[in-house]
Chain length 216, copies 2
DNA sequence: GGCGAGATGGGTAGAACACCCCATGAGTAA
DNA sequence: TTACTCATGGGGTGTTCTACCCATCTCGCC
C-alpha cells in the first residue's frame, strides 16, 4: 500500500533533491513533480495523488491559495507544506487552507517523511515550534473564528499603533501623537508582538513591510 | 580523479536532497555536509575539499562572508554559490568574495553539476540570467569599482556588520558570530549610523531593505 | 446583570541601545 | 617618516526597549 505523492517546488534543484531523498522510503511513490500552481491543479485532477508536498513560494499563485483550491475540489487529497517560513502568518493561513502538515525546510529528512505518512493516514504532523504556536492560540482564543478576521487578529487600535511603531518613533513620541500615555503604547506593542510572535522592533519593521503596511 | 566536495546549507532536508542528487555523478565525492559557516571553516581546514557548495543564507554568518574567508585562507578551494537569490546585490557580492560559480536553486540539477565541475577545473560557471547581469554591468561601467559605491562609503567590515544588525541580532550575538567584542560591533554600528545619518535600528532596517541588502 | 474584549494606565527589572570618552595596532598613502 | 584610515576594544551615562505584574473603564452581547 504505497502513498502516491506529488512534489511542488519552483526550484528544480530542490525538487530533484527531494525526489531522491524520498525515494529511500519504499512506501512512497512520486507520481509527479512540478514548479507552478497551475501545473499542480492539473496534475491533481489527472493523477489523484494521496499527498501533495507543497512549497509556499510559487511563482504564479501562492502555495496557500493552491492548497485552498486543491482541498476545495479534492478534499481527500492531503497537503503537506514544506517551506522556509516559520512565522505565524504563513502557518495559520496554510492551516486554514486545509494543510495536514507543516514542515520547515530546516527539519530533518525523517521528519518530512513522518509528516507525509501522517498526512496520508488523514492525521496531522506539525513541527514542534509551530505546534506550540497553535496550542497557545487555542488556549487563548479557542481558534474557531481565526479565519474570519484575516488581519492577524490585531485590533484597530493595535494596527494604528503598529504603523507609528515601525515609522521609528519611541513610545513617548507615539504616545504624544496619539494623546495616550507611553505606557499604553508599550502595552499595545506587547500585545502586537505576542500576537504576531515577534520579539523586536526590527522584526516588527520587516513584518510591516512584508504586509505592505509601510514602504521602506 | 574525483572532485572532493562539501555541502553547506542550513536546511537539513535540502542538504540531504542535494547529497542524493549529487551522488549520481560518479566523479563527485561528498566529504562533508554542514549547516553553519563556522563548521565550514573548520571543515575546509581539516578536509581540504576541491569545491564548497555554499548557500548564502546561513544562520551564523552570511555565505558571502564565509566565502570571503575561505578564499582568503585557502585560495585553491573553489566555491559555488547555490542560492534562491537572483538579484544583483547578492550576485556581485558573491563574485567579489571569490565565488567560481553562482547557481540559483531553480536551476536544473545538471546545471549544478556542470557548475561544480567547472569550479573544480578553476573555471567559472554562471547561470545565464546572472551572466547577463555581469555583461550588462561590464558594458556600462567597466565594473572595476563596483564594490566601493555599493553602500555610501561604508567600509567592508561595516557593510558586513550592517547585514547582521538588520537581521535583528543584538550586539552580543553579532560579536559572537564575528568573533569580536560587542563593543566593537557597537562601534561599527555608531560609525554606520553616523555615515548614513540614521539614528535607530528600525531606520537601519528600512535602509537595508531599500538598498536590497536584505529581504523583508 | 454579568462577562469578555478592548483601551487605558501604573510599576518594576533587566537587557539593549545610542552616544560620548579613550586607546592600540596594521596597513597604506603622501 | 608622517599621516591617515580601518578594525579592534575598554569605560561611562542616560535612554529605550522588552517582558512581566497590576488595575480601571467602557462597550456590546447573551
Amino acid at each position: 500500500m504505497t502513498i502516491r505523492l506529488i512534489l511542488v517546488d519552483d526550484h528544480a534543484v530542490i525538487r530533484s533533491g527531494l525526489r531522491m531523498l524520498l525515494e529511500d522510503a519504499t512506501d512512497l511513490e512520486i507520481v509527479g513533480e512540478m514548479g507552478t500552481a497551475r501545473e499542480v491543479l492539473e496534475a491533481v485532477e489527472k493523477l489523484r495523488p494521496d499527498v501533495v508536498l507543497l512549497d509556499i513560494g510559487l511563482p504564479d499563485l501562492s502555495g496557500i491559495e493552491a492548497a485552498r483550491q486543491i482541498k476545495q475540489r479534492w478534499p481527500e487529497t492531503a497537503i503537506v507544506a514544506l517551506t522556509i517560513h516559520e512565522d505565524e502568518e504563513y502557518f495559520f493561513r496554510m492551516l486554514e487552507a486545509g494543510a495536514s502538515g507543516y514542515v520547515p525546510k530546516r527539519a530533518a529528512p525523517d521528519e518530512l517523511i513522518t509528516a507525509i505518512r501522517a498526512a496520508a493516514e488523514d492525521e496531522v504532523y506539525l513541527y514542534p515550534s509551530l505546534a506550540k504556536l497553535l496550542v497557545r492560540d487555542y488556549l487563548s482564543t479557542g481558534f474557531q473564528d481565526r479565519s474570519s478576521d484575516m488581519m492577524d487578529g490585531l485590533t484597530p487600535r493595535e494596527q494604528e499603533v503598529l504603523v507609528y511603531l515601525v515609522e521609528g518613533g519611541t513610545n513617548a513620541e507615539i504616545g504624544e501623537q496619539l494623546h495616550i500615555s507611553p505606557k499604553t503604547v508599550s502595552r499595545h506593542r506587547e500585545n502586537i508582538m505576542r500576537k504576531l510572535n515577534l520579539h523586536s522592533r526590527t522584526e516588527l519593521v520587516k513584518y510591516a513591510i512584508r504586509k505592505g503596511i509601510i514602504q521602506p
